[in-house]
């Protein structure tokens, strides 16, 4: 095939899907980040050659909350082929980290009520009202003194 290496071509295609969370490529890229591995090292750890790693990365990722999760895991594991339990472990680890990330983001958002424009509005209104009252008081005083 005119200089094209099918293994490299599929790996390159899989890499293009790393930002798409519906593909296993995204899960594998996140797992590599967590574990500090490169793709070759992860393929080695999974006991599969690069061509099968590309095949795994190009699969759609099973949803751990879906009722057919185990069936989908089995289908991917048979197709690649690879160890089912290892695949489940990788998906669960990545999902846990994503959940943790989301929890941290939510917590940080809740901790800064001042950043809420509505809250700031209330505080500003309260402060303005107070200052206006002060001005009124002074004016009254000035009027009274006259």
């Amino acid at each position: 095939m005119n200089g094209f290496n099918s293994e490299t071509m599929l790996l390159n295609l899989a890499m293009e899907l790393e930002n798409d969370s519906t593909f296993m490529s995204h899960v594998l890229a996140r797992y590599c980040q967590i574990e500090g591995l490169d793709k070759d090292a992860l393929a080695g750890e999974l006991g599969i050659p690069p061509f099968l790693f590309a095949r795994l990365a190009l699969c759609k990722r099973p949803d751990a909350d879906a009722p057919n999760f185990i069936n989908e895991i089995s289908e991917i594991a048979d197709y690649v082929p690879m160890d089912e339990m290892r695949l489940v472990q990788i998906i669960r680890e990545v999902d846990s980290l994503i959940s943790l990330d989301n929890a941290v983001i939510n917590h940080e958002t809740e901790e800064i009520p001042v950043s809420n424009p509505f809250s700031v509005g209330i505080l500003t209104a309260a402060r303005d009202h107070s200052e206006d009252e002060d001005v009124d008081e002074i004016t009254k005083d000035e009027d009274g003194s006259k």
Partner: protein, 205 residues
């Protein structure tokens, strides 16, 4: 881009699987279509030496489909043709961009591709390549060409081989000058092409 019926049926079934949510369908489609489209496109744009450009065009077309498979309407074309058309269009756009930037490809080279397509010999080669996986055609041609060297040359042509060097090896003229090799390879290929042209009707039948 044409393909054997079984190939298109397999691609259509995988498309249905992808829509149905089967997790391996996307990988199977990529494995099935990517090599064929890469091969076809690099053959069609044989004057484009930048393989990265062809790869980008093909991968972008596949990504477009894999991310939104609903964009493909099975009633209008085969999946292979849908992705092929998109990859073809992607490559033309990339070539135009590069020609504007005067980077990798001279516009003249792109135009040469179109003039090649109009060439009768090219049409015969395309016919051979399109029928590459059609065993029946191959068997018929094989039967019509008794000479083993002719058969080997035919096989290279059916594989879309364009480099003179392999044909020269088959013809046993590797020691000759490059010019002489080119001339003899061309003469041999032209003879086979003319032979196929003469017998085309009975091959297609």
């Amino acid at each position: 881009m044409s393909a054997p019926k079984e190939f298109n049926e397999k691609a259509a079934a995988l498309h249905k699987d992808l829509l149905a949510g089967r997790p391996t369908a996307s990988a199977q489609i990529a494995e099935l279509l990517q090599p064929r489209i890469l091969r076809g496109l690099s053959r069609k744009f044989s004057n484009v030496n930048d393989e990265h450009l062809i790869q980008t065009a093909v991968n972008d077309a596949l990504l477009y489909y894999l991310k939104s498979p609903n964009n493909f309407d099975a009633k209008r074309s085969s999946l292979l043709n849908f992705i092929w058309q998109r990859a073809n269009s992607n490559l033309l756009n990339l070539l135009k961009e590069n020609a504007k930037q005067n980077k990798f490809v001279e516009l003249d080279e792109v135009q040469t591709v179109y003039s090649n397509e109009a060439n009768q010999n090219e049409t015969i080669e395309q016919f051979l390549v399109d029928e590459e996986q059609n065993c029946q055609t191959y068997k018929q041609l094989y039967a019509l060409l008794p000479d083993p060297i002719d058969r080997a040359i035919l096989e290279l042509m059916m594989n879309g081989e364009r480099e003179t060097v392999l044909f020269a090896v088959v013809l046993g003229i590797s020691e000759e000058s490059p010019e002489a090799q080119c001339a003899r390879v061309k003469k041999h290929k032209d003879r086979i092409k003319k032979f196929i042209q003469r017998h085309r009707a009975e091959i297609i039948r």
